[in-house]
């Protein structure tokens, strides 16, 4: 009835979306510039719910953006800078073509640059937001800082990334906030706790680069551009929070120590300072001098809506953390030249240890190998010629395992030439009933403060656990037996046979309070199960079945492992016999 005929694809979902090419034209930018702008501003492509409607009836796959996002981009001042840059490049190319060298010089001097500060402020309105999102930035910066300066990206970018990475590591050392380290086949994962945020980042091993061809370097460089700016501002603020000088300065007396004759061999005068910073062996200068042991015990009050129990557990965790922070305090390490120096120096310093290396290995070594006070010498070769008596010669994995275990592990298993125990991932958290590798069980036992045992002790422990399980089962059986007895008696009664009733002198049953309590609890539980509705009962049964299955699987794995170990042992014995 009347009115204009509605046309298709003029209202509804179509109006909310815009294709990438349209958006690009609207902003009058080239595709590369558009992509860069989107990355910098944090505008992501969007998958519409009804693609066909949005795509005006076509089903061709296309990249869509929300129209409102693109409108928002129109206000960005950087867009103008991009256009300026485009003109700059054009002019420069022309000047080159005409061989107008003075013109080229002048243009290069006036190269248009843009700042990302306002974008960082806009994307991360508060400091904590930025800290929360720093994972990506860290990984990217550390990755770029390991690149060779071969023209895959700007040398300046690599240098800046290196600087920021070193600043970050120095902050982590100063604030002692490292929590976990994991040496994987890919790279080294680190986890730290900064201002209550858990931050994970990955570091490639040194010299491990083959440049993959299916990675868009331009995109990655753009991300790095954003992330370096972000990380710079985050670093500044973090340094402020722990009263460190920014840009980082070495502590006065440390600097004095570091002055040595061979300094020029490593770096130019202009670079030696930053190199020394990146050696990670000296502490940083503080704006407010650190008063030692001034940390008074604060009174803890439970926060609102938090009961006493929670608070206690929190306190416990805090105490544990404080203990972990001082893990390597008082220990003096020396790194042999074949171990990954930077990673080890970083980890050791994060937990209060002192570290040094050969003078010819890197700048910033603080003491020599001949120092008598060295407690641990980290070596990664089967044997070493000259050994000092008063120090342990261990493999690098010890340091990482100690950090993950939060205790100083016994060094025996990490001596030179010894087959190392597996390096377990600290990022797995086993829930109840999961299979736990025996090494981890051992570690947990050590954490509980139990004495380090020999191998058969560990096996016994396993058996103990098995016994416990058996106990549970036997209890159940007991109950079943009681019931059976009762049933029998009742059956007899029904048959009308007289029971042989006799009064015997009572025996004083030794009352086991614990046992009684447990029984009572079990009884309660059983009653509760009995009182369940049919539906709930069904669900309960299902859950219990699942749990049991889980346990069964874990047991199976444990048995398998035992069989594996036994097999290994038998093999070894055989070999020994053969040797004999």
């Amino acid at each position: 009835m009347g009115g204009l005929q509605k046309k298709k694809y003029e209202s509804g979902a179509v109006t909310n979306y815009v294709s990438r090419n349209k958006a690009r034209k609207k902003l009058s930018l080239s595709l590369a510039d558009f992509r860069r702008l989107c990355i910098l501003k944090g505008i992501y492509p969007h998958e519409p719910k009804h693609k066909k409607k949005v795509n005006k009836g076509s089903t061709a796959p296309r990249t869509f953006y929300l129209l409102k996002d693109i409108r928002f981009l129109l206000h960005e001042p950087i867009v103008g800078k991009f256009r300026e840059y485009k003109i700059f490049v054009r002019k420069l190319r022309k000047a080159y073509g005409k061989a107008e060298w003075s013109g080229v010089e002048r243009m290069k001097e006036n190269k248009p640059v843009y700042k990302l500060d306002h974008i960082i402020k806009e994307r991360y309105p508060t400091f904590i937001d930025a800290v929360r999102d720093v994972d990506d930035a860290l990984s990217m910066c550390f990755l770029f800082s390991t690149f060779a300066r071969t023209g895959k990206c700007h040398v300046q970018t690599i240098q800046l990334c290196r600087r920021l990475g070193v600043e970050w590591m120095n902050y982590i050392i100063a604030s002692r906030s490292l929590r976990k380290v994991f040496l994987s086949i890919k790279g080294i994962y680190y986890q730290a706790e900064v201002l209550g945020q858990t931050i994970t980042w990955i570091l490639p091993y040194q010299f491990a680069h083959d440049h993959p061809t299916d990675v868009d370097y331009r995109v990655m460089a753009t991300f790095t551009e954003l992330y370096t700016t972000l990380l710079g501002f985050v670093n500044f603020r973090l340094y402020q929070t722990v009263n460190l000088v920014y840009p980082p300065k070495l502590d006065g007396q440390g600097e004095f120590n570091l002055k040595s004759e061979s300094e020029e061999d490593y770096a130019l005068e202009s670079e030696s300072y930053s190199e020394k910073l990146s050696a990670l062996s000296a502490s940083l200068a503080r704006t407010v001098p650190l008063a030692e042991d001034e940390e008074a015990e604060l009174d803890h009050f439970p926060a609102e809506g938090e009961d006493l129990e929670k608070m206690e557990s929190r306190e416990k965790i805090e105490l544990e953390q404080n203990k972990q922070k001082k893990l390597f305090e008082g220990l003096k390490f020396f790194l042999n030249r074949e171990v990954p120096r930077e990673s080890l120096a970083f980890v050791i310093r994060c937990f209060g240890g002192q570290v040094s290396w050969d003078k010819s290995l890197c700048i910033g070594s603080t003491y020599d190998e001949t120092d008598e006070t060295i407690t641990h010498h980290i070596v990664d070769r089967p044997s070493i010629d000259k050994q000092y008596i008063n120090r342990y010669y261990i493999q690098p994995q010890w340091v990482y395992d100690c950090v993950n275990g939060k205790i100083l592990l016994p060094v025996e298993e990490y001596f030179l030439g010894v087959t190392l125990p597996p390096h377990l991932s600290p990022f797995v958290e086993e829930s109840e009933g999961d299979y736990v590798p025996p090494e981890k069980l051992k570690l947990l036992a050590l954490q509980r403060g139990e004495k380090p045992q020999a191998e058969y002790d560990e096996e016994e422990e396993e058996e103990d656990e098995d016994d416990e399980e058996e106990d549970d089962q036997s209890e159940d059986e007991d109950e079943a037996e009681d019931e059976a007895n009762l049933a029998k008696m009742e059956g007899k009664r029904a048959q009308g046979k007289s029971l042989s009733v006799k009064v015997t002198p009572g025996k004083a049953k030794p009352e086991n309070r614990m046992r009684a309590e447990q029984e009572e609890k079990a009884e309660e539980k059983r009653l509760a199960i009995m009182m369940m509705k049919k539906k709930e009962k069904y669900l309960y049964d299902k859950i219990m079945f699942g749990k049991k299955r889980h346990v069964r699987e874990a047991n199976k794995l444990a048995a398998k492992r035992k069989a594996h170990d036994d097999g290994n042992k038998a093999d070894k014995k055989k070999k020994k016999k053969k040797k004999c």
């Binding site: 944090g42 998958e47 994307r123 994991f182 994987s184 890919k186 994970t200 993959p212 551009e225 991932s425």
Partner: protein
Amino acid sequence: MAAARRHKSVAAAQPGFLPFKSSLDGNSSAIKRRKRVNKNKKKSWNKFSDIQDVEEFLDDVRLQERATGGLISEKTDESLFFVDTGITVEKDTKDTQAETTVKKGKHSKPLRIDLILQPDSRIPAPKNVLAFQQPNAKKQRRISERAAKLAATGVLPRREKLLQLRRAAAASGVSVKEHPVANNNPERAFYDLWNAGTPETADPYYLEQTKKKLVKRPERLNEKPSVLPAIEVIAPGGSYNPDFFSHQDLLREAHEVEVKKQKAEEKLARQLAVNEDKATEESTFKEQVEGLIDEEEIEPQETEGDTEDTVIGPTATEEKKTEKQRKKEKAKRIKELQRKAERQMIHKQQQLFQLRSIHASVKKQEQRTKMRQAQRKAQQETQKSMPRRLGRLKFQTPDLDVQLSNELASSLRSLKPEGSILKDRFKSLQKRNIIEPRERAKFKRKHKLKYSEKRAFREIE
């Protein structure tokens, strides 16, 4: 110039004029018979008027001027002739000249090339007028006058002001504003970005209009497009010195992926394989009895139906309804409506007795919708962690990084890193829907390559 030329011609016409070249002397050129041509056009005038004598004369005048600096006929006698009194003076001068040349030696002798380039004309080069003329002199004079006037009142031009400011800054020791530092400059400075600076006091409308205040970022943009963490830690089997079982787990996972891939490949191969007709027993038998058995012919029956549907559209042959018929129809319609209403009433009443079953069905339906809602929600939750289809290409999960049991390193020193972190990061960005998956643009040659033999290298035949 014109005046000078006239002057010269006048001089030449006079009887005392001496031509410089001897060939010009006298009437050496034979008088030819004049060719009769119409000279009613400029072209023919140019072509046929004989001006050689004039040209020759003018050339001579120019030569005289170049060589002597003026017309010889106008020169005084003293400048042209001298009285020959003896040889001695000349000799003396020659001697002195020789001495001086010897003394000066080689160095003072100008190069021949310079001598060649030396102007040999006696006439001074004409002055370049433009070199002395000031363009826009009047305009500039006016501008300067105006500037002076303004300066008198104390208003300085912008350039002057900036210069003064710079001078003042230099004098006071404050560094002059430098070029903005590039983003990736390794020495760039950072500051506290998040401290609450001085609050803006200016009019917000003014700030908005002058683009000093940026547009507020919508909250929606701060949501992450995926719930996946930025760094996904590798499974425990990926440790450089893994626990046996976790390593086996990882290997199994990788194996399963590989098996799946292989299966898909095989399936594709199977589907693409050429379907060869292999002779079975049955088919060979059929072939052998071909033609021996009478096959019943099947007649096509499609042609029969065509003849009926010849009429297209309604026919207008129906007769007009009578009044009676109309009334009857109307009554019928009303009756029908009434019957329907009645039935509905009855149905409603009946529903009262079905209350329980209705209740049950409603409940059932509600339950179903609830279940579906939950399902949908769960699906949406899982979708949040899935890579979306953002472009032409689908997200390809990267291969798992695995080291086989025999590849595992015995110590940290001998570890060979697996996979590339750069690729891992790139894929992670794609997985989190931050960038769309793309493939490298293939190089496409615009023009065909052309081969030609060079002279330096020839194919040996």
